[in-house]
Symmetry: C2
């Protein structure tokens, strides 16, 4: 048996005891991690300095080097985040429903951990801490693979976390494990009998390549092509403010708006206003033919409707109806987040019902789609999956449920045939 399968089996074994480790012990393990980070912050920053130096020498992009940095401040932020995870209520062991099948035959549907989760993430070492803590709190074992550029930082973080949690309870041995190479993670993807879920946090390319090479369910999103639609009944001042925020406030992220749709009735009035705002902020605009008749800009090609710019670039299109806007979005959106600006409640409800995205918004910015802003606390990522968890995913998305049936010796035979006992199916919760 290879080392990776051994690691996965160890994780699986650990996961089997995790579900019955009480909340206070899981929280004690989290506190132990927080203390370990605090008292070893120098060691951590030293390891991080090595990674930073190597990254500079390899002339990696500055944006990547910036994300790689794990300073005293960032360590403090991680500690604060761990303590906020400790404060959150327990997501496992919740009775989700209770049904009496017959007198003395009671069925509970109870939340429980998913089991073993494989996570691959790029650059940011704080992701390692956050994901480990979310998994621990929700009773899951985790196998982590970070970017090779952060290997020294990740190594010491994983070691500290392992020691910290095992010192609280030996059953945490195997709960958090670090894989060091990409080949190891690739080999992990084969063990669908031991791994229950893969969460990739990184580039579209990474997510797609993982989806193609495993039978294990993958939770996440490949692209973030978000739309804002300005309806004929929009308050145009509000529209300008929200459209500006949606594109300009932080263009490099998945919930920034990439395409602006404008109703033809208000296009002549609205386009010059928003174009001026975008122009001042240095946004490159690409319009369809009708847009370019109102404001001069470069032409949008068919490809522009399905491109995630992640930059100060926006494509703009004029539509003649709410339905046309919805159809365009359902065709080109990555089903992440799409917004409507309108004073018409009917239009807003139709839009939010019929746009098939993980978040739909009315009179506000697509940028709000985020676990922290949604009040979920920390997040493992944003999912555009249509099964399990969708949208920003916090602790709850790391759980599933099981049924527990408690009886007094009943048999199915007693309930069979015309004279058999009848089920009561009484909803108790």
């Amino acid at each position: 048996m290879d080392a990776i399968r051994a690691a996965a089996e160890k994780a699986r074994k650990s996961s089997y005891s995790l579900s019955s480790i009480p909340l206070d012990v899981r929280n004690a393990a989290l506190e132990s991690i927080a203390l370990a980070l605090e008292s070893n912050s120098e060691k951590i920053t030293e390891a991080n300095a090595k990674d930073m130096k190597a990254a500079e020498e390899m002339k990696l992009p500055q944006a990547l080097i910036k994300r790689l940095k794990y300073s005293q401040d960032k360590i403090s932020e991680s500690v604060t985040s761990i303590r906020s995870i400790m404060q959150q209520e327990d997501v496992i062991g919740k009775v989700l429903s209770k049904t009496e099948l017959d007198e003395g035959l009671i069925l509970d549907k109870v939340s429980c951990p998913i089991g073993v989760i494989g996570v691959v993430f790029e650059s940011r070492p704080d992701a390692l801490v956050q994901i480990s803590c979310l998994c621990l709190k929700s009773g899951n074992a985790v196998l982590l693979k970070g970017g090779s550029e952060a290997k020294n930082t990740n190594l010491i973080l994983a070691e500290l976390i392992q020691k910290a949690i095992i010192s609280v309870d030996e059953r945490f041995d195997g709960t958090v494990q670090l894989l060091s190479t990409r080949e190891e993670f690739q080999s992990l993807l084969k063990h669908d009998d031991l791994i229950d879920l893969i969460i990739p946090r990184g580039s579209n390319q990474l997510v797609r390549s993982i989806m193609e090479s495993t039978r294990i369910p993958v939770m996440g999103h490949a692209a973030g092509i978000c739309h804002t639609y300005v309806d004929k009944d929009a308050d145009l001042k509000m529209a300008a403010k929200v459209c500006f925020d949606a594109k300009v406030q932080y263009p490099a992220v998945c919930n920034a708006t990439e395409t602006l749709l404008i109703h033809s009735d208000i296009a002549e009035k609205f386009l010059p206003v928003i174009a001026e705002e975008y122009g001042k902020a240095g946004v490159e605009m690409r319009g369809d033919e009708r847009v370019r008749k109102i404001v001069e800009m470069s032409a949008a090609s068919e490809n522009d409707w399905s491109e995630e710019y992640n930059d100060l670039v926006i494509s703009i299109k004029i539509v003649d109806s709410l339905r046309e806007a919805i159809d365009h979005i359902n065709r080109y959106s990555s089903h992440h987040t799409d917004a409507i600006i309108t004073s018409s409640e009917a239009a807003a409800e139709e839009f939010m019902d019929d746009v098939d995205s993980s978040s739909t918004m009315w009179n506000t910015s697509t940028r709000f789609a985020d676990g922290y802003r949604y009040g979920l606390g920390a997040e493992v990522g944003i999912s555009t999956n249509k099964t399990h968890a969708r949208g920003p995913v916090g602790l709850e998305g790391l759980t599933i449920y099981k049924y527990k049936l408690r009886g007094k010796g009943q048999t199915v035979a007693e309930y069979s045939g015309k004279d058999g006992r009848k089920y009561t199916h009484r909803k108790l919760l």
Copy 2:
């Protein structure tokens, strides 16, 4: 574009209007199907007779031919089942949670259909009716592929259903579509941009081959290797009754017990009793060495612990502790359904917590794991997935959720920086 992609696009298009079709219209479509089945029952049985004749001529197994039969009685059962689906409460549009992010910025988490579901099923034509109706009620479009042996029956059923629902509302055009060949279904598995979920109902082989050939999430179970563990503190009379039911009542199904684990403290007393019962019912027993010292039977090999007999065969093993039983089950079980028989509540709770299966049971028969018995109404199948839906799956498993955020023009920029507005994150529901 090939015909299959065209069908999938039609389904996708239909799914976009389905989520806003009100409950009474979806229920009217279900009633329309029920009436169509009743008034065309002769045509249906005639088509079925053709399939039965062909199956007899091809000398298909009698068990398959039996399942293929779709008689007047079975049609009536389908109609009853449709009317019971109509009675069930709506699973879409439910507000699952509501959070105030700030004054006038309200986040709803709302249940909605998954979208487009591909279902492949074998032999039983009533599965076509049941699955179509569950999908319709839950607002999903469905692409169906039945067994080739039922092609005439499936064809007329699909035609009747299509006509019945389109006559109620034209937006149902594309909601239910039938694929005729296995190649068509294989080709469907490629369109992961249009299909959200695959549900295979059939042999292990079918399920596994589908899982291997698609990136679309697959919901279902490959095997049903269920255990019953008789603890040292079991009421042995109850244990004998339940173990008999779990194996003998209907051995051909996935929730029948395949392995019996017995605590060594009570083995000498219990084994002879249950062996006699099993013997009378013609059950072939295969025991480990310690079992065979108490009762003579053939020897269980290592393979027996992971075999789904689906027949009057059972493997029996003696264990020395509750923990050994749990470990054996977590290693060999297909994570479908496992039961403990004991008078000790502590042992039962530990077992139900730590056995990692979709259903765990105390003092009752594994045979209860079933959508009808659990009070879910009709079921699309039983899932051993660790994500999305687990255990018997009814209407709820065909839904996901989306977030809807309603604002008054708020921007993320206002909430940024030290002087930014603060989120309230007040739980309203």
